[in-house]
């Protein structure tokens, strides 16, 4: 059952919100001991009382939203008032925000029910969710395999249908990549469409909260809820029309699709190449034109720009975790600098420390010109090159990841191998463009594959239309067997 179908059943009285909540907790009790998606769950009794309140409002027609009463999980870097928000880090293990993120306000207004906070790579840095300080989340399709990252917990919770919806965050692909690995739909909208107020920052110029669901329609409905102008976020944009569910039209006739490629051929897993080819054929059959288009960059170049900028911003955003006013503080220190050093050494995991050091390095006075400043300029260049494509294309088609099915036990020999997985997703973050990953079949191990669609800035409507059409016209085998 999709989230929208669930919402309908609640609205017409077939199900009560209380029933839905009970069922949700049952499913979680059954599945999550193994999957380890949730870092924390709200007290069932408290949620049941909330369910009753929402039921009242639905009955009295106070709440009419199509998703009212539907349960949702939140990635644990989104601040929830009164509920621990840990970023899967020792640093914030016991941190309880006194405020809700703006998206949480929106979720509550729509009458959705927050069930719990999900696991992630620490401070959103990673592509496997193995970098969580607390637990590793397993892929519901095959528990030997990675769930992807950094919004791994949110992906698994939806893929296993413990909850029909979740929110993740995406800085370099952290929504889209785990969505692809788990076989669900995940989207990062245009930068500025969803407020970052209350999202614990990783890389400010690229972070975006986004919807994760089992299908495109639910994804659009959830984006409608969370997209809003927020005066508390100076990078927020005002958009008049956020009714994305209206774009769920099964029609790709005349759409101009660009099959995006990097300058040098990037090795793709065979099954992913297959999926891309089939999507291409599918779109052609649906009346769209699909043309291969190459951008003048290699994957490595684009990745380098991303990592220089993201690490730099992260090194600054994470300076506030110093043990002074809140969060973890090491004990037994003789002076201030020792306290700083010990707190941050013990409080952060190795991946976080790695990125902070890289970021501090590229921002240092002697290196600034060579790395950060250069990366800023190249980012602008990338943006301008990609923006020219919209003269000829409505939507771009490309892989979500270059690999599928990463075993949990696999040790990444070089850390950059993990980074290289992001080469197709970082493009949308660097260019601030909307991008969605939809499931498109399985690989030879039976693990899900995702393909990615990218649209022009604030053109989510076109993006959803193409995604919806592709989804509706997939052969049954292609759809991930959830």
């Amino acid at each position: 059952m999709t989230a929208l179908e669930l919402g309908k059943k609640i609205k017409n009285g077939e199900l009560t919100v209380r029933q839905v909540v009970e069922q949700t907790y049952e499913k979680i009790a059954m599945l999550d001991k193994e999957l380890q998606s949730f870092l924390s769950l709200r007290e069932k009794e408290e949620v049941l009382l909330e369910a009753d309140e929402i039921q009242e409002k639905i009955n009295s027609k106070q709440l009419i939203h199509s998703l009212a009463g539907v349960p949702i999980a939140m990635k644990d870097n989104i601040c929830t008032k009164g509920i621990t928000t840990t970023c899967a880090s020792k640093m914030l293990e016991h941190f309880i925000p006194m405020y809700d993120a703006t998206v949480i306000d929106n979720i509550k207004k729509a009458g959705m029910i927050i069930i719990g906070k999900t696991n992630m790579d620490e401070f959103a840095m990673g592509s496997t969710t193995k970098h969580s300080a607390f637990q590793i989340t397993k892929n519901p399709n095959n528990t030997e395999f990675c769930v992807g990252g950094s919004s791994g917990g949110s992906a698994a919770a939806v893929a296993s249908q413990m909850v029909p919806l979740s929110l993740g965050s995406d800085t370099g692909g952290s929504i889209r990549q785990p969505s692809a690995f788990c076989g669900i739909v995940g989207m990062k909208a245009s930068y500025g469409l969803v407020s970052r107020n209350g999202l614990i920052a990783y890389a400010s110029s690229m972070d975006q909260i986004g919807p994760m669901a089992t299908n495109v329609s639910d994804c659009a409905a959830l984006l409608e809820v969370i997209a809003s102008y927020d005066s508390y976020d100076s990078t927020s944009v005002k958009v008049t029309d956020t009714q994305y569910t209206k774009s769920l039209i099964n029609d790709a006739k005349g759409m101009k699709i660009g099959l995006l490629q990097y300058k040098q051929d990037n090795p793709l897993d065979e099954s992913i190449q297959c999926a891309i080819n089939q999507a291409k054929e599918n779109l052609k059959n649906l009346g769209a034109t699909v043309t291969t288009v190459t951008i003048p960059f290699t994957a490595k170049q684009v990745l380098s720009v991303y990592y220089v900028l993201a690490c730099a911003e992260a090194s600054s955003n994470l300076e506030r975790y110093d043990g002074v006013a809140y969060g973890f503080r090491s004990d037994k220190d003789s002076n201030l600098s020792e306290m700083y050093r010990k707190t941050r050494t013990q409080g952060f995991g190795s991946e976080v420390k790695r990125r902070i050091m890289l970021g501090s390095f590229v921002l240092s006075a002697s290196q600034y010109e060579h790395y950060y400043k250069k990366a800023l300029r190249i980012r602008e260049y990338i943006c301008s090159e990609v923006s020219r494509l919209w003269n000829d294309y409505d939507v771009l088609l490309l892989p979500t990841t270059s690999v599928s099915g990463v075993p949990i036990k696999e040790k990444m020999v070089h850390t950059t191998k993990e980074y290289e997985m992001d080469c197709y997703t970082v493009l949308a973050n660097l260019t601030k463009l909307p991008a969605i990953s939809i499931p498109y079949g399985k690989d030879e191990n039976g693990l899900p594959i995702g393909i990615q669609l990218m649209g022009n800035y604030l053109q989510e409507h076109t993006l959803f239309q193409v995604a919806y059409t592709l989804e509706k016209n997939m052969e049954k085998e292609k759809r991930s067997g959830i």
Binding site: N197, T235, R320
Partner: protein, 498 residues
């Protein structure tokens, strides 16, 4: 006398005349906006610890800055007052460093595109007018305040001040003496107070000054190595610090040593400074553009609007008062010390067109009353209308000056009408000659000794008698008349004696 580093300072004193001091200033000014620069918290000073705080100014996870437009307006106003260039697209940058009073671990400041570049301020130097060039002016946020508890060996942080808007003004090294520095700071302070963007009080911390100082042999064009001096909390402290640092640097150079490029902290109780950190320890702030704030676009329209609001500044008033009202330069200076005083003067003469009278009353009676009450001339707790009314009564001889002083004190801090007050308390001057003569005769009758003294040549005795008459009339008699009549009476006595 052997000073720091075993250098003979006395010898250095003689050598000082061969050297020239070169000074540049970094002045931080706290802007008097209602709310902080990046959040809606109040900037009210002196409240209980940690009441004016929110997730933004305490660096909580997930918080984001939102720029206070008034801060930009004030910064532009100061920039225009300094004849600077307003940067059409100005941006914020992050200055990263760890310190407990800095909750985000970075300060949002401006490095690459500060809001104002260039400009100058004209001061009266030793050899006439001199332009002190401004390097740049930028906006930034203030840090919290650390409070150290010696007994408990711990420190506390008050975040009320965190996020209070500051502008930093950096001058070129154009200043050559403590005197010029004082002139510069006085002139700057006056401009800023006239603009109403800050109360600019060094003692309270709404103005903070760091002094960059180097020395070189007179005639040299190359700059010497400079040191930066911090913790200057009073004008006197600034002057002393400049004198000491000049001496210290000259002594070093004379001894063949090198001046270290360092930051020093001034200790006013000890009258010396000590090194805080050297070039090697210099912090790398890893500046980069602030991604949470989009660039600020400043239109020419906006600049024009702000320029239109610019008041007439003190220097202009000083010149105008002399030519327009015939006041002396000294008096003009005194009257324009604060914009409130100047405004009161200008408003009062609209209702009572005797500039010299008004000026006198403000400079003498008003200032002394304010001093008594522990106030300064930014708090003139009376209106120009009240003052005009009072002075008019003196002019029309309705009351005498002594009574006027009383009335002034009575209406101060109230909105009482002086005319009504005088009527209600029956304070009008007694001008009726017959009545005064009566009292004079009475007083003279009661003070034979004084009369004798006067006849004997002690002129002071008349003053005493006049005083007694004034006392008898409860000060309300017209002193001029009393003087005349007492004199006449006494002369009469003398004549009769003869």
């Amino acid at each position: 006398m052997i000073g720091e580093n075993n250098i003979d300072c006395n010898n250095a004193n003689c050598k000082m005349l061969e050297y020239e001091t070169v000074i540049g200033l970094e002045v931080h000014i706290e802007l008097a906006t209602n709310t902080k620069i990046f959040c809606g918290c109040s900037t009210t000073f002196g409240e209980e610890e940690n009441v004016n705080i929110c997730p933004v100014c305490t660096g909580m996870p997930g918080s984001l800055p939102v720029l206070n437009k008034k801060v930009v307006e004030y910064a532009i106003a100061v920039g225009l007052a300094l004849h600077g260039n307003i940067t059409p697209i100005t941006r914020f940058d992050r200055k990263n460093y760890f310190y407990p009073d800095n909750p985000q671990g970075y300060q949002i400041s401006q490095l690459y595109f500060p809001i104002v570049t260039g400009g100058f301020l004209t001061i009266q130097g030793e050899d006439g007018n001199k332009n002190i060039r401004i390097h740049e002016l930028h906006m930034e946020e203030d840090a919290g305040k650390l409070i150290h508890d010696e007994k408990e060996n711990s420190s506390y942080i008050d975040f009320n001040r965190s996020g209070v808007p500051l502008i930093e003004i950096v001058t070129e090294p154009d200043l050559r003496s403590a005197g010029e520095v004082m002139e510069f700071l006085e002139t700057l302070k006056s401009r800023i107070q006239y603009l109403g963007v800050s109360d600019c009080k060094l003692q309270e911390g709404s103005m903070r000054v760091d002094v960059n100082l180097s020395v070189r042999k007179k005639g040299d064009t190359k700059l010497g190595t400079r040191t930066e001096m911090k913790n200057l909390n009073s004008f006197r402290g600034i002057q002393r610090a400049i004198a000491e640092e000049t001496k210290r640097q000259i002594a070093l150079l004379e001894a063949g040593k090198v001046v270290e490029r360092e930051t020093r902290r001034w200790d006013d109780t000890k009258g010396t400074s000590y090194s805080m950190r050297s070039k090697e320890d210099a912090m790398d702030y890893r500046y980069f553009p602030e991604p949470d704030l989009p660039p600020v676009i400043i239109s020419n329209d906006w600049i024009e609007k702000i320029k239109k609001k610019e008041p007439e500044f003190r220097e202009e008033k000083i010149i105008r008062y002399q030519s327009q009202y015939g006041l002396s330069e000294y008096d003009s200076r005194l009257l324009t010390e604060t914009k409130e005083m100047a405004a009161c003067f200008e408003e009062t003469i609209v209702h009572f067109n005797q500039p010299k009278e008004v000026a006198n009353w403000l400079m003498v009676e008003t200032l002394s009353l304010l001093k008594e009450k522990g106030l300064d001339s930014t708090k003139l707790l009376f209106s120009p209308e009240q003052l005009a009314s009072l002075l008019t009564m003196i002019y029309n001889k309705v009351i005498n000056r002594t009574v006027a002083k009383e009335v002034f004190e009575a209406i101060f801090g109230t909105d009482l009408c002086p005319v009504e007050y005088v009527a209600a308390h029956n304070l009008s001057m007694i001008q009726d000659e017959e009545r005064i003569i009566q009292i004079v005769e009475q007083v003279i009758g009661e003070n034979e000794q004084s009369v004798q003294d006067y006849i004997a040549g002690k002129k002071r005795a008349m003053g005493f008698l006049v005083g007694q008459v004034m006392k008898a009339t409860k000060g309300k008699a017209d002193p001029q008349k009393v003087n005349e009549l007492v004199q006449v009476c006494l002369e009469g006595f003398i004549k009769s004696e003869v």
